[in-house]
Symmetry: C2
Subunit: 167 residues, 2 copies
Amino acid sequence: MRVLGIDCGGEYTGYGVVEMQGSGRLLCVACGAIKLSPQEKLPLRLSRIFAQLGEIITEYRPEEVAIEDVFYALNVKSALKLGQIRGVAMLAAASAGLPVSEYSPLTIKSSVVGYGRAEKQQVQAMITRLLALPSAPQPMDASDALAIAICHLHTAATLHRQSVSAH
Amino acid sequence: MRVLGIDCGGEYTGYGVVEMQGSGRLLCVACGAIKLSPQEKLPLRLSRIFAQLGEIITEYRPEEVAIEDVFYALNVKSALKLGQIRGVAMLAAASAGLPVSEYSPLTIKSSVVGYGRAEKQQVQAMITRLLALPSAPQPMDASDALAIAICHLHTAATLHRQSVSAH
């Protein structure tokens, strides 16, 4: 299965496409971040994210999309900003007919590092190892997006194992 | 000028298309609300709003779009929800190449009722009078969207008068 993870942010929106191969090995297909100019008007910025996520989906053909669920530790103003970007990211997935799963930051960290309160750097180091990358994915937003994709692949694999053992 | 006002909400997203005629008279072209089912998954709900706003723009051909600016009186959870809908609404306008203006609730109420702390019912009553409607527009979200459109038309008319008198 191939998954696109999206890490929404006001300035950078990270993306990471990860494939779980038959052996269970994880392969980094692509990663990066969409940079937005704070000088640009909001509707234009939203258009750019929507268009670029659409291009990423067309180019790398993920079968599912995973996104961080954020209900925490933010003030109203930043929650509203983040919500706008998140809405457009979900719309990009839905427009391509892809199912979207949401994971809390705690679940993502637990799934990748085995510890929900892990530091960002620990997550990045583990992503580098899990994907056997020559160096840590940059920027941090790209690394976070890969973590979200891996979390979804781990969860899907666990659910699959459970459904196999139940039958 | 013909303006589409959008009032974003978690359950109902109101819309109102208002035209200011040469005489300065305001005409209600269309209004209503897009109802969303809380049972539906979020990406599907966002797709629906995007598609329906696109249809409204295609059918009624507004030249500009106005939307409420919300930074107030909400908790983080509802701000995030509202942000998601707002992002998709702005994207619908930007995708049609329409400029988007944002107004605070205070500005909208002041522009329509002449008093920023007006009650929702006062706004609705004034909208009914300004647009010479036989009865109050329903639901309240549709009435709020008309208020946003009228606020933008009033502001645009004032800016136009100022630029005329300056030359």
